[in-house]
Amino acid sequence: MKQFWKSMLRSPSGVIGLIILVLAISIAVFGPMLFPNSPWRMVQRPFLPPFTLSTVPLGTDALGRDVFAGMIFGARVSLLVGLVSTLVALVVGVPIGAMAGYFGGKTDDALMRFTEFFQTIPSFALAIVLVAILQPSIYSIVASIAVVSWPPVARLVRGEVLSLRTREYVQAAIVTGQSNTWIILREILPNALSPVIVLASLMVATAILLESSLAFLGLGDPNLISWGYMVGAGRTVIRQAWWITVFPGVAILISVLGLNLIGEGLNDALNPRLSREGR
């Protein structure tokens, strides 16, 4: 563990990514405490430009709502959706991949055809259709992002399990008569963890992008303010008020960038052999 942090902190992208993530999480957790009022509330005249009033540093939108407050509350939605939908995707993808890799044969064939099928469907189009049909809410958004993002997890885990399965310690566990579930959970998966962690950090980034795109198209949860929604709402008045679209977009950019950097740092730290080969 100590070794891990050491190498993580040695990679510059990992450090920058960690700083961004810690900042974003603290904003998401503590920010709304500093802004007790609802971000939907009108606080000033509409279209107040940024940097004119210190109480509303980033100006107001077309309905006089505080852009800065919206961004703070939006951090919560973006990060939460990103994390939870990635977790759900892992819960779906890891068992499918593990079973395919462990049992092989017909099970593997069937599960992998199923996975490939989901990978062929254009993911964003499927997410749109799912959210539209299930009606936009935080649950349908998380569910549809998970539905479109689990296949890579299954494929990655399958590959890892496939190579670990032939190792001696796994063979020994089979000989001693351990149950399949026990072997998969206790012997194989812990050793397949590091590439999954790297993939998961990148998936959170993709999920945030997906969520913001859905919200931008008007498929966000109508009760929750999010960065994508703010950009979408500011789109029609971009000629008069650039700040409504610019600032939330920067927030998305920075958090996605941070997560991608963490993914790179994790990759360097967890797969040192790969990273030394120069990327």
């Binding site: 099928f117 990978q119 062929t120 469907i121 254009p122 993911s123 964003f124 189009a125 499927l126 749109i128 259709v129 799912l130 539209a132 049909i133 299930l134 009606q135 980034a205 992008l209 913001s212 795109s213 931008f216 198209l217 008007g218 498929l219 994508g228 950009v231 979408g232 789109r235 971009i238 000629r239 650039w242 679209t245 610019v246 977009g249 998305i252 950019l253 920075i254 996605v256 960038l257 991608n260 950097l261 080969e277 120069g278 990327r279």
Partner: protein
């Protein structure tokens, strides 16, 4: 070669069939009567139309029979009727398809060319300032949501500098023909295509760079050098050709994302393609049209995947077509 192609086409048809079946169940996932859902909000108030739909799709019959009717319909290119737009779904999509193809293919060409170019440069000058600059730019473009890039493009090139039109396919009412028309369309195409292309360009840049650095170390490159080949020839003929393999695979994987990006890009730029059609269907909760576009998008991705598979086989010196 031929047997490989037939095999892949057959596989594609099976996947497409599965998507159509999925579509069938998606309609039934929506709350309420499928006939009302298919008719859309407007159709719900028209009992005659709803009754027609119910008869046409046999909605009072058992589920497997309904499925059969639906699949048969799609197979004969009958994707249903859009009550909102007062036109068959297949016709609406057919009208919009060329614009989407123009946009996505242009964006794809731009992203692939620039991505491979920048990636090659970064790998060539690995560790220098140029490499760092390219890598940082690629990272940033990779993290930008497409809709935001589109809006920033409009803000910069249309609102501030007034260089490019911010929406549409051509200048409305200009009635241009021939070359003037082509130039006009090209002007409208630049921003949407660049927007859509930037994200993928970033991916290809990163992929090309990583892949070239990896191939560079392989034994056959050393052999080529030992043979006395010039650096430029080694780079081009040996390193780049092999390094392009994962890039081609990635292009296939990304075709679905490209279509998804087109939905966003077309929405922002009012580009009259099927992505914009999907957005309109979404706004009006026109589920029949929405699912029709979804099926066609999936079919496009399948075709694109087939093409990249074939290209892969052409580029990869190790794979020969099994005869």
């Amino acid at each position: 070669m031929l047997s490989f192609v037939t095999q892949r086409v057959l596989k594609g048809v099976i996947v497409l069939l599965a998507i159509v079946v999925l579509n069938f169940f998606l309609i039934r996932l929506a709350p309420g009567d499928p006939a009302v859902v298919m008719a859309g909000e407007a159709g719900a108030s028209d009992p005659v139309f709803v009754k027609q739909l119910r008869e046409k799709f046999g909605l009072d019959k058992p589920l497997p029979e309904q499925l059969l009717i639906y699949v048969k319909g799609v197979a004969s290119l009958d994707l249903g009727f859009s009550f909102r737009q007062q036109a068959p779904v297949a016709k609406l999509i057919g009208e919009r398809l060329p614009a989407t193809l123009l946009l996505t293919l242009t964006a794809f060409a731009i992203s692939l060319m620039l991505g491979v170019l920048f990636g090659t440069f970064a790998a060539r000058f690995a560790g220098t300032f140029l490499d760092t600059a390219i890598t940082v730019f690629a990272l940033i473009f990779y993290a930008m949501p497409i809709f935001w890039v589109a809006l920033m493009g409009i803000l910069l090139f249309s609102v501030t500098m007034d260089w490019l039109p911010s929406f549409g396919y051509e200048t409305v009412g200009a009635n241009l023909t021939g070359l003037a028309h082509a130039v006009d369309v090209a002007k409208h195409l630049i921003m949407p295509a660049m927007t859509l292309g930037l994200f993928f360009m970033a991916t290809y840049t990163r992929m090309t760079r990583a892949s070239m650095l990896e191939v560079k170390r392989l034994d056959f490159v050393k052999t080529a050098r030992a043979k006395g080949l010039s650096d430029a020839v080694i780079q081009r003929r040996h390193v780049l050709r092999n390094a392009l393999l994962p890039v081609v695979t990635l292009a296939g994987v990304h075709s679905g994302t490209l279509i998804g990006g087109a939905v966003i890009t077309e929405t922002v730029f009012a580009w009259p393609g099927i992505g914009r059609l999907m957005y309109d269907a979404l706004l009006q909760r026109d589920y029949n049209l929405l699912l029709g576009v979804f099926v066609i998008c999936s079919a496009m991705v399948l075709i694109f995947n087939l093409i990249t598979d074939l290209v892969y086989r052409l580029v990869d010196p190790r794979i020969e077509f099994a005869s």
